[in-house]
Symmetry: C2
Subunit: 352 residues, 2 copies
């Protein structure tokens, strides 16, 4: 394994996601990956920063939705315009991965690292080291090399990868993909020392992925291959892409390819990884006062403990008197107040 | 009693108050009386509307602080500029009343009605009727005629007026002023049928008040009398007024004059009166949803009952999940969250 493993690598960041768990901070036009949840860079900007630590900006691509395209471009002036690819509609990760692979191949790229846009990852050095190991592990093989995160608790919100053992840095075969487990199963997984969280990030040679698509999702390959082949100067025709996407089935790359592919390997990630799935889980990444209140913005408090306060405008001020363990969020003209242990119920506000 | 009782009446609205009970809606530059707590007019604007229902706008004056002068003028374009008088510093209600009386006398006014700026009062017809009765009751006498509010509960936040009986519309002698009582005393007052809430509003002939000041607070009369006498076209010199106020003791008109005056009478107010002393007490004046949430602005809620939501910008949106009996206030860059029964503790946020 050498740094030359990165020489012909492109990084593609998947940034088309939506979701309501960060409402009211997130909206359809500003989903989680575009939010500056901590510090002064959005999760997407942080993901691009990490990718650029691996490869030059010209080899960093972002796949997003048409709706988000302009906002993504505005956040990423360091990327060439043609590196931001807009999906005409969401057809899950198989379509996005196939499109990215074809686009990178068309530009002469030989290896590809698929990255997520909405996780907190650090430090950058350990991230670069893991990408380097994975890129080396797929070199001249048909391996798809995933990043597995060593679980810190029996999470029920992630899929898991089963491997022989989780220690050591080298790539090892993935024996099985498993969907989000129940708590008992997750606990058994963690106790076994053989399961890693599926980070949703993976590295492969473009030829390997195209061959796997040919075997397991041939319509993805032919439908999108035609469109990419007709691109002029790397710019894909909007109408042709829309027609192609309309014809594709909705399926994830895990289900459509990875679970069936004969050579999936895994590099245990040694970097810290957090999916920050909700405001309560954001608390540990925010500055905390002596009363345990995690705050972005300014907090005045009295008899108030372990609250999570998040203000889109860090100049905003929140006052809490006599309430603990609640989440208070301010964004635009919207304010949310919910107990930490009911934050998952925010989505019910939108079910009517 | 006839409507002619209003013919030579001026109305003076006391609008110099400050306070933190409506923080974060209220600030030093925008105290309670300038807030649009309900509907689309501030409490001060509503007070001026009621005064103009009694007398022409030329005979409606506002006494406020220098700090608030411009904001008051901006809210009240219907009043002549010289009708907004700015106190150089707060010296309680005796100074404000003396200044107002002298100013009205200098303009040829013969009777004066002192009104509060930060209470909710209605309907206007009953208010005008009460002012008319009080103005008639002081006609050609040295009576100071207060408005007593029939108590609806044993409030401990107001002073009380003792009278012989509280039924009937006609003016009757006030036997005694009492300060804010404890709950047991307040309960006894209400049960006795002889006590009314002191509304802080009263009517008198200017000659009567000047004579009473001469007897009980002579320094107020001479100090302010000199300044007003030197006014040019009704405009009082700022520096002279500042010097005069600096010399005055801080005392309320109740303590300084009313409690000592031999002829204080009371008209029971038949209008609805609320001091809306805090956000919880505002709830009954706001639109309420089926779950008992009182809202200015828009509320999305789930398992949320009897909350009070107040947004300075009525276009703002608040979401509450799984919390009841809390107050949520949004104003400018500030947000407050506090249980209804702890709203009084807001002021403790400012004691450090």
């Amino acid at each position: 394994m050498t740094v030359t493993a990165l020489n012909d690598l492109s990084c593609v960041i998947m940034a088309g996601g939506a979701g309501t768990r960060f409402w009211p901070a997130s909206t359809e036009d500003k989903p989680k990956q575009l939010l500056t949840l901590i510090g002064d860079r959005s999760l997407l900007q942080l993901a691009v920063d990490r990718a650029i630590a691996c490869v030059p900006a010209e080899r960093v691509l972002v796949v997003t939705s048409r709706r988000l395209h302009d906002a993504v471009r505005a956040q990423l002036p360091e990327l060439p315009a043609r590196n931001v690819i807009a999906e005409p509609e969401r057809k899950d990760t198989a379509a996005a991965t196939a499109l990215a692979t074809l686009a990178v191949q068309a530009r002469g790229g030989r290896k590809l690292c698929i990255l997520t846009a909405d996780h907190l990852i650090g430090p950058t050095e350990l991230f670069v080291a893991a990408v380097t190991r994975a890129a080396a592990a797929c070199e001249d093989t048909d391996a798809i090399v995933t990043f597995g995160v060593v679980p810190t608790h029996p999470a029920t919100g992630f899929g898991y990868l089963e491997v022989e053992r989780i220690d050591g840095d080298e790539a090892r075969p993935v024996k099985r993909f498993v969907e989000k487990p129940d708590l008992a199963t997750a606990s058994a997984y963690v106790a076994s020392g053989r399961f890693l969280w599926n980070s949703g990030m993976f590295v492969f040679e473009t030829a390997a992925m195209l061959a796997a698509l040919h075997t397991h999702l041939p319509s993805h390959l032919t439908t999108l291959g035609d469109v990419v082949a007709k691109a002029v100067d790397g710019v894909i025709d909007d109408h042709a892409l829309a027609a192609a996407f309309a014809a594709l089935p909705r399926i994830s790359i895990d289900k459509g390819v990875m679970e069936k592919h004969h050579n999936v390997r895994c590099v245990p990630a040694r970097f810290a990884w957090s999916d920050v799935g909700s405001f309560p889980s954001l608390a540990e990444h925010l500055p905390t006062d002596p009363a345990g209140n995690a705050v972005r913005g300014h907090l005045r408090s009295l008899d108030a403990h372990n609250n999570v306060v998040w203000c889109e405008d860090a100049g905003d001020e929140v006052a809490i008197v006599g309430l603990s363990d609640v989440v208070v969020v301010r964004a635009g003209q919207r304010t949310l107040v919910v107990p930490r242990n009911r934050a998952e119920d925010i989505k019910k506000l939108f079910e009517h």
